[in-house]
């Protein structure tokens, strides 16, 4: 699960991770109030969307007066912010973070995430703050310093010291960096985060070390023990069809293609998308109906796929292991009778009672393209697209 920058900073504050003074605002009026509360003479107005690259897209501006805070807030709120992560349609800005301006001396990087190869968390720092870590890793990997965390004992003080020295920090900046890094790991660990990325991490001329930006993602599997994080979910940042799918226990991801697909199992669903592509189409979605595909799941799957106007054909691919294919076939027939599907449906059911399922589909009087094998299904996709 993803959250906004301001929410991440609120969490970090709770764990004594230094962040600039600031607060969320939903209107220009509120923005001015927040700025007044912060005080000082310099503020930063930051668009809050679940995507990176906001600064380049024009979503982060510096204000030198309260009037300017009002003006810039008015400009950014309601804009469609386009960044390299939003796609060409951009994201509507509905929330702002108003923050104190800080006296930046250096921009650094720190990130914590799981290293899958080691099955341990790893904390990484770099002096190349503000750049994408992937870019640093590719171009100058020697500029990334990593410490692997032993899950039995957690992050140790010597590791924080090593990283802070590695960043070339001294005196007060060094001391604050050690504190910052240890606290950040605490926050990551305690919230079941899957990513905590501070880019840039800044050191100020006054010796402070703080998170100028903050990105935190959380492990979906662990949300059951963090109701306070679940509350931070912003549905405006999610695809409406995906929210709808979740309600029906369907795992759906909307894509930009023209062939919808409905599959049981994540691996087979990805494999089916790949087949659509090889057959000359583009997958319109990922949809895993789960291990217990039945009439209801199939019907809601259809409704969701058909809400996407780009879909020109649907490929259903179910491998009935424990699930009986004839039951799935009946579910498909019932759903199609109920929802009047006007586009070609290619259906391939394999496994338990596949033969009976085929007969049900053939005798349904409905216009299905029944495919025997996966290869056959791919060929039928090609033929309906042409």
């Amino acid at each position: 699960m993803k959250i906004h920058e301001y929410q991440a900073k609120e969490i970090l504050r709770k764990y004594n991770v230094a962040v600039p003074n600031g607060k969320v605002a939903f209107s220009s009026d509120e923005a001015v109030e927040v700025a007044k509360g912060i005080g000082g003479e310099l503020w930063v107005v930051k668009a809050q969307i679940h995507a990176g690259g906001r600064g380049k897209g024009g979503g982060v501006k510096v204000a030198k007066s309260l009037d300017e805070v009002r003006e810039l807030s008015g400009e950014i709120l309601g804009m469609r912010l386009i960044t390299h992560q939003t796609g060409p349609e951009g994201r509507l800005v509905k929330r702002l973070l108003i923050e104190q301006g800080v006296n930046i001396e250096k921009e650094l990087y720190v990130g914590i995430t799981l290293d899958r190869a080691q099955s341990k968390n790893v904390i990484m720092v770099s002096t190349e703050g503000g750049m994408e870590i992937e870019k640093i890793a590719a171009e100058s990997p020697e500029k990334i310093i990593k410490e692997t965390i032993d899950p039995e004992v957690g992050m140790q003080a010597y590791q924080a010291r090593k990283l802070a020295f590695g960043l070339g920090l001294k005196d007060l900046q060094y001391k604050n960096a050690v504190k910052f890094l240890s606290a950040l790991y605490q926050a990551y660990e305690a919230t079941d985060a899957s990513l905590a990325e501070i880019n840039p991490l800044v050191v100020t001329k006054e010796g402070d070390v703080m998170a100028l930006d903050a990105k935190m993602n959380f492990d979906d599997n662990a949300l059951f023990r963090h109701p306070e994080i679940v509350e931070l979910r912003d549905l405006d940042e999610e695809e409406p069809l995906e929210i709808e799918a979740t309600k029906h226990n369907l795992n759906y991801i909307k894509l930009d293609g023209n062939v919808g697909c409905m599959v049981n199992g994540a691996g087979l669903a990805m494999g089916t998308m790949d087949i659509i592509k090889l057959a000359g189409g583009e997958p319109a979605n990922f949809l895993d109906v789960g291990g217990t595909a039945n009439k209801e799941t199939v019907a809601s799957g259809f409704k969701i796929i058909l809400s996407d106007p780009n879909v020109k054909a649907i490929l259903i691919n179910i491998f009935g292991g424990i699930v009986r294919c004839d039951r799935v076939a009946q579910g498909v027939i019932d759903a199609v009778n109920e929802i009047k599907v006007g586009i070609p449906i290619i259906i391939r059911l394999e496994g338990t009672n596949a033969k009976e399922a085929g007969e049900l589909l053939q005798n349904s009087g409905l216009n299905f393209e029944v495919a025997g094998s996966l290869k056959d299904a791919a060929e039928k996709v090609t033929s309906v697209l042409n």
Partner: protein, 378 residues
Amino acid sequence: MSILVDKKTRLVVQGITGGEGSFHTKQMIAYGTKVVAGVTPGKGGQNFEGVPIYNTVADAVKEQKANTSVIFVPPSFAADAILEAANAGIKLIVCITEGIPVKDMVKVFNSIKNKDVRLIGPNCPGVISPGKAKIGIMPGFIHKKGNVGVVSRSGTLTYEAVKQLSDLNIGQSTGVGIGGDPIVGSQFIDIIKLFNEDPDTLGIVMIGEIGGSAEEEAAAYIKKYVKKPVVGFIAGRTAPAGRRMGHAGAIISGGKGTAKEKMEAMKKAGIKVVDSPAEIGITMQKALLNLNGKSTTTTVQKAKGAAANKKTGVKTGKATTNSSSKKGAAATKKSSLTANKAAGTAKKSTKLVKKAIVVKSASAGTAKKPALVKSKKK
């Protein structure tokens, strides 16, 4: 032979009285798996379908000599269940549970990694050695006893591949679903090592997906040590970056873990990588036939000699392979130089078995006849 599970497997089901646990326990028993015990804390002393239930895994090990465990408990209790099994002396733990928090698995993985226990999963369909034992939730009927090892991160996609193989009359030695989570107890490389050392596994199907680098690591190992034909597929070429595709582990992050990268690494390692999952079975068939084609010219002398000792080609082939492959496996550990030689030996005898298989299945398919005729002539 097979890997991980066979007729010696004595299974304890953790969470035997739950919905999933009870359903699949019946299925496993029906398949012929020796389910010797169940564990549900608080229900010790009862029984399920004639299987005695214990309060702890330790009791099940003590009373029923359980050596393998399968876990069906809910995600919030699953990490604890794995640790309980590991500390009770279970040697193989298969965790089916989906949705275990990563933090829990980090602790579990690092806690058991130096112990004498193997974990398969979590979030996996399980392990099956056709005709011997089925530990997990895969449909038994699509499998066929044979000599191809299947290892995969997926569930239904594995069934798809297995079905393709079985339909072509290519049986499986063992099928292993390693699971779709970012942290799993056994990786491709661990299972492929076992398949490589198993004399009855003549070919390997490896089905990966986007995310992580386990496929690349396995490819590097295969390039160095595996002489058996490997057919590979990676699901998720069309998946967008940054999105979790169902499986918690199936995510392209920071430009890493793409299907393209994995497929390239696998191709470089000599793996026969298929673009379409529909081609897995047929590609393995070709690889096995190719193996057989070579064997008819290179190992015919040995085959003749061996055939003189035993009555049927099938038995001969197997007997020969067993002994020399074991030598091969032992030598692998010594040095890469001897490993190569040993692998060469293993390869030759492998071909013998291949021929035996062709003899066995020739009646089923005309495509295999030429190879059979050829070897007969010589």
